[in-house]
């Protein structure tokens, strides 16, 4: 069938050429018509050749293995297996070669986490609540203070205090690492077009990748435990602060940047005295989003034994206890609201100061 069509074309049959010419003239007027024609031709041809319900050819090679009963078994090796194996090998290589690095990072994060947890647990809970209430009052007045106090009391009376503190410690470390990575990358992306073009698709991929996937390399590199949780959380939570730092700096009025340059500012002075201060409200919005995403991921990270409130949810799930699930879930919601309102109030204050009149 295919061969016949081929010879016809090569012979330059007069009817065929006039048909082709007709198609071409039609296509020049209506581009979508020729597209439709191609699709129909492909559809008909493939139906004729392979028939309906064709499968993708996914097998790369077949190996014959003798089975116990003397017969041979044919094993298919698929494209997916080959690709997955290659990625596995890559991770294995990275785990082995980067061992010293991962160990160092792991030890450092664990050390820091323990300090923060111990510090917060050493403080009497009354002092912690009073301190956070005061902070809430400072940025958000009575309403926020009332909410913060009640929400924290809920955590305490429900017996979730210790796990809540573990979660807070995880968030603090994950956000600190995210900012340490994200702020410089955001600045780089705003100032360098190549870096921006490289980062954009990677960030898109990072944000659409299901968050559970990050747990696996976390375990591979750091083993089960808190460092793996921090790793997965940072990857999940870092994109907003990169994106919004980048955006904030780009949005700074070009005339103000020109003015700074006209007075002889170095690039560093432009960045520190003009761009970052003026981009601060946007950067703060990025930090707010990063923090909330960190909270979401820290909960999931309980699956790699990172601990915290996620543990309570996970246990309720495994034991099919709806009540406990709701109680622990609410605790996470309350924490999220406290963190969100406090960081947003700080951001709003910044924005207010900067709006030009």
């Amino acid at each position: 069938m295919v061969g016949a069509a081929g010879t016809q074309e090569s012979e330059g049959d007069p009817d065929n050429t006039s048909l082709a010419a007709g198609l071409r003239s039609l296509a020049s007027g209506h581009p979508w018509l020729s597209g439709t024609a191609v699709v129909i031709v492909v559809l008909v041809a493939s139906l004729l050749i392979w028939g309906p319900q064709m499968d993708f050819p996914t097998t790369v090679s077949q190996t014959e293995q003798p089975a116990a009963d003397g017969r041979t078994v044919v094993l298919d090796q698929t494209i997916r297996e080959v690709t997955g194996d290659a990625i596995d090998d890559g991770f294995d290589w990275l785990t082995e070669e980067g061992d010293f690095l991962f160990d160092g990072v792991s030890d450092a994060t664990a050390w820091l986490l323990v300090r923060i947890e111990d510090g917060l647990k050493w403080l009497p809970w009354v002092a912690v609540i009073a301190g956070l209430a005061l902070l809430s009052f400072g940025v958000g007045r009575w309403k926020l203070m009332a909410f913060t106090t009640l929400a924290l009391l809920y955590l305490g009376f429900m017996g979730l205090w210790s796990n809540a503190i573990d979660t807070i410690a995880l968030i603090v470390v994950a956000v600190a690492v995210s900012l340490a990575i994200g702020l410089p990358l955001g600045v780089l992306g705003a100032r360098n077009r190549l870096a921006d073009n490289l980062m954009r698709p990677i960030l898109d991929a990072m944000q659409t990748m299901p968050s559970f996937v990050y747990l696996l390399p976390g375990i591979l590199f750091f083993g089960l435990g808190k460092p793996a949780g921090i790793f997965a959380t940072v990857i999940y939570a870092v994109p907003p602060v990169i994106r919004l730092t980048n955006l904030g700096i780009r949005q700074v009025s070009p005339e103000v940047v020109e003015a700074a340059l006209a007075f002889g500012s170095s690039p560093r002075q432009v960045l520190l005295k003009v761009q970052i201060p003026m981009a601060l409200p946007t950067i703060m919005a990025g930090i707010n989003q990063t923090t909330l995403m960190a909270l979401a991921m820290v909960t999931i990270a309980s699956m790699v034994a990172a601990g915290g409130l996620g543990d309570d949810v996970l246990r309720a799930l495994q034991k099919n206890q709806s009540g406990n699930g709701v109680i622990a879930g609410l605790a996470i919601v309350f924490l999220a609201i406290i963190i969100d309102r406090i960081t947003q109030s700080i951001a709003a204050e910044n924005r207010e100061r900067l709006t030009a009149g």
Partner: protein, 295 residues
């Protein structure tokens, strides 16, 4: 003044935006208009063989409609835009030859710019805005605040040091812009349509104040505007630009009484020689009177 070495001398300056910038200099494009070049090469000729010289202590006005290249010229003088070809001599030195550190030094000490939309830092109060240029130079806080306060006084804003730009009117924000430029005590001021965004009454008052300031300070000023009356009132000499080239340069009287071509003639049609004399006399009076009105 005419015998003096010019402070700024611009020779054969070109600025072409676009990828094919160099092809504009091929002989075949020599006689083509800017629009033709843009159509054929996709390159925009913003400045076309501009030459001019500005004497020390004069106000040199560059006038043109939007798109005439006057703002590009102003930005070339401080190298916010890098010219494609030509030379800009500043006290005899070609600033286009400057490396990064020389350029920084030049911008810090010799020249300052005032912007149409002020270009103030919204997160800083007036005092820190005015002191910005000195802060960039690394001057310590007490010294720069002292200089900034003096500049603020010069533009008549004493008492406003701790206000933020958003709390001030446009005219006052532009005074901050001028004070910021004066605080670094530059040899030359570039003013890019500084009064265009202000309403007419304020604009006239700011013009008078600029004349009176110039009477005390004798800075060299390159002043960009699209307003003929402003050009005549302020300019010791005026250059008129069209499509990136200078079509006429001379004293305000010369421009009005002997327009070089139909374009300039059309421009100055509504202004008589008598009016020029009147405007100049008024400006003269402000300069010698030397009084500063507060807004």
């Amino acid at each position: 003044m005419t015998l003096q070495e010019p402070q700024i001398q611009v020779e054969g300056l070109w600025k072409v935006f676009g990828d094919d910038a160099d092809r504009v200099f091929e002989p075949e494009y020599e006689s083509k208009t800017r629009d033709e070049i843009q159509e054929e090469l996709g390159a925009v000729v913003a400045l076309r063989d501009v030459s001019l010289s500005v004497a020390s202590g004069e106000i040199f006005v560059v006038m043109g409609l939007s798109g005439s290249g006057k703002s590009t010229l102003a930005r070339c003088l401080i190298r916010l835009v890098d010219a494609t070809r030509g030379a800009i001599r500043f006290d005899g030195e070609d600033i286009l030859e400057y490396g990064p550190s020389e350029l920084t030094e030049f911008r810090r000490k010799k020249i300052a710019m005032v912007f149409q939309h002020y270009g103030l830092l919204p997160h800083r109060p007036v005092l820190d805005n005015v002191a910005f240029g000195l802060e960039i130079q690394g001057m310590d806080r007490p010294a720069r605040y002292e200089a900034a306060k003096a500049a603020i006084e010069t533009v008549g804003l004493d008492g406003w040091e701790s206000y933020y730009p958003r709390e001030m009117s446009g005219g006052m924000q532009q005074r901050v812009g001028i004070a910021r430029a004066l605080a670094v005590d530059p040899d030359v001021l570039i003013m890019d349509e500084p009064f265009s965004g202000l309403d007419p009454l304020i604009r006239r008052r700011m013009q008078d104040e600029l004349i009176s300031l110039e009477g005390q300070l004798h800075k060299t000023i390159v002043f960009i505007t699209h307003d003929l009356n402003e050009a005549i009132k302020l300019g010791d000499r005026v250059a008129i630009m069209r499509d990136g080239a200078i079509v006429q340069e001379g004293s305000p009287e010369e421009i009005v009484t002997r327009p070089a071509d139909d374009y300039v003639a059309d421009f100055v049609r509504d202004v008589s020689a008598a009016e020029v004399a009147k405007l100049r006399a008024a400006a003269e009076a402000v300069a010698t009177g030397g009084s500063l009105e507060a807004e």
